[in-house]
Symmetry: C2
Subunit: 430 residues, 2 copies
């Protein structure tokens, strides 16, 4: 039997990156979890559930293409440190705790509840090296109703003892065991996750490429985030011309060694040069732009306008906990802000990113990584947020798209802060 | 009769900019609105009121040294525009509305309520050119219990008709009438407020300097915010070497023409050159660093580390509504973030600002503009915030100063977001 739902509200969405389409008091019809129609009139036959959010904003759900679940526990602390010092102080000591089931259950419980109550509907998530804790969080996320990719992290060199897997084979065996243990989950899927080149041996990278191909999985990792990190990769891999080749040479960068394409998302790309950007484009790799993290860790500003001019796929990410917030609205704002600084201080040929463009990256562009997601178009998954911007005291009358901008700038990411309903694949999460 | 209050909690404060002093489960004694003692033991004689905030953070109140009350109404909108375009679109059209008592009452009511419920205890505020609306907001602020300087704005050239005062004399007469009408207010004081040089004729500037001296008032204005603005000042004033001289030549820049010193706060100073910075220092002028506004309006990054190295007085400000948020915690975070970008992208000899330094600017440094304010030291005004960081779900144990950093990064500025008590001059605001 067909299940139909109609949502009424002030609809704001995009067909293209540079502008918004708005329908005041419009209707979205959902059929079997997918958008059936978006219209200024009620167009539906037969029985349906009617949800009246008149006066509230109805927008696509937000897609966070890069964050670290275990780092949620220390968000907003030790923010005076730069990447490598920070890694050693905060993430590495925290991630070691996830060898224990009790801690993992508590910390991942807080993380999952926070993500569920946020504006994020889909996410690409790093767990830790620990297989049991990774299976645990994948089950928690499945229960949340969100749709996510979750990676057991692989790392077998240049890491603290507690986070160094004993061998490449051990790392692969544990990865397989996570894949097998979670194969019946519907909304929570594994993703191959070499932490980053400095922490993965050549043998591990090679075996991950083979494993990826065997299971047909996507890949997530880090790329050209920080100048010190890039120097380290150069030292470890004098044989490559640029960092991305360390992934690509092992079939972990959007194309298998046999030429088959698969989805890959790389966080940061702040310092990717001409050759690296060309490979990103040729291989269809998604960039997870994480401006708040790049500020906090003194990494720099990714030239997003250049990426867009060159036709690269740019998505947005919180990068919890290099980024201190899980709010994708805050990431949009930061994306606009840092692009203004890049224009002002670095290259006046690259105009700032507009709010509309940032919103598109967080919805349609990020959604593409998950399939037909992130757009209000017939056949797309019904991932929908309802925002009550009436929580912002106001004495002005604004158009729905201006209200959305204001909401993004002024509001946090809290269910209590105005997100009054959230749907993923048509299912109401809260 | 002496009124004594003792506050118990996890006290975090500073004696110097680079570090925190923490007293877990400590005691602050307040006598007649002033800090009497800060200690790890209860030290008080006679009767006293005891307020037990054990487990919560107790920190100095935050001082916002630059914001525009009428711009509160459009916070977070039209953020894709640069300064001059934005001024014409948003602030100027909004500010014109404050000629009407009804609109002013509604909008300033929302503003005052928001500021009251925020973490801000003291502020330097721009109103509009309108005398009645300025007197109105000053009375509202007096009722709030906050301590503020409020300026009727002066502007008699290069502005839209509705915001151009008919003559310099008219502007002065209206300013005097605000000063006279508010002379009995205890916590809400007038401040001379030429909007900025482009909107004030030479005659008006000169008369404002004389007026300031007559009433012994402080001054607030804007300085070297944006490159386009600086070009405009150069065009209007070919006779000066740098922008600040347009104020200083009229006795509006920390020193009267007769050499007498007075308090002046200048917003931004993003592009102040060597000569201008020397004058800022020589005249003891306070800089209101407004990093969020400078990002939003594509102005640039003020080199705060250079300011500090040179011994300038740097305070922090939201600059509502170039800055979209009234949260001084968010301003601290942004101050740290942009200093990292300045270091990374502009000048590697100027290390980033630390969180401790940013907190100091928002408390002790800004407080100095108001007198003995912003420090937990005997004889200072008892401006105190109590923060319940238990609202942040957590599975880690942190020191009080790390908890404060986390609170600043993760929390907004809402009474409902964990600010559970606020005291100004020892009086509880909520």
């Amino acid at each position: 039997m067909m299940i139909k739902t109609v949502i009424k509200g002030d609809i704001v969405f995009q067909k293209e990156p540079t502008k918004f389409v708005t329908i005041k008091s419009g209707y979205i019809t959902i059929e079997n979890g997918k958008i059936a129609s978006v219209s200024d009139a009620l167009k539906v036959d037969g029985d349906y559930e009617f949800l009246d959010f008149d006066g509230k904003l109805v927008v696509p759900g937000l897609v966070d293409t890069h964050l670290h679940a275990p780092q949620n526990a220390f968000r907003g602390t030790d923010m005076d440190l730069e990447l490598i010092d920070w890694l050693n102080k905060s993430p590495f000591s925290e991630e070691a705790k996830y060898s224990g089931a009790e801690y993992a259950e508590k910390a991942y419980g807080i993380f999952t509840e926070g993500l569920k109550n946020s504006a994020t509907t889909r996410a690409c998530i790093f767990a830790t090296i620990h297989k049991d804790a990774t299976v645990l969080i994948m089950n928690m996320l499945e229960d949340s109703g969100l749709v996510t990719y979750v990676g057991k992290v692989n790392m077998d060199r240049n890491s603290p003892d507690a986070l160094t897997e004993k061998s490449a084979d051990r790392s692969i065996i544990d990865t397989v065991s996570v894949i097998e243990a979670t194969k019946n989950l519907k909304n929570t899927k594994p993703i191959i996750t070499p932490r980053f080149t400095p922490s993965c041996s050549d043998e591990l990278m090679k075996k991950l490429g083979i494993l990826r191909q065997k299971y047909g999985l996507p890949v997530q990792s880090h790329l050209s985030e920080n100048l010190g990190e890039i120097e380290l990769v150069k030292f470890l891999h004098p044989e490559v011309d640029f960092y991305a080749q360390t992934y690509d040479n092992n079939g972990l960068f959007g194309k298998s060694l046999n030429g088959e394409s698969f989805k890959t998302v790389m966080a940061h790309c702040v310092w990717s040069g001409d050759g690296e950007r060309k490979l990103i484009k040729d291989n269809g790799v998604y960039i997870a732009h994480s401006p708040i993290s790049n500020l906090n860790l003194s990494s720099g500003i990714a030239p997003v306008r250049r990426f867009l001019n060159e036709g690269l796929k740019v998505t947005l990410a919180t990068d919890v906990a290099g980024g201190h917030t899980k709010s994708m609205f805050s990431v949009m704002v930061s994306c606009v802000q840092v692009s203004k600084m890049y224009w002002r201080l670095v290259d006046q040929t690259l105009p700032p990113i507009t709010f509309a463009e940032a919103f598109y990256m967080a919805t349609a562009a990020g959604g593409e990584f998950f399939g037909k997601v992130g757009r209000f178009e017939s056949g797309y998954d019904a991932d929908i947020l309802v925002l009550d911007d009436g929580v912002i005291p106001s004495c002005t009358t604004l158009s729905p798209d201006n209200r959305l901008e204001r909401y993004a700038y002024l509001n946090g990411d809290l269910r209590s802060g105005g997100i009054c309903a959230k749907f993923v694949k048509g299912k109401r999460i809260f």
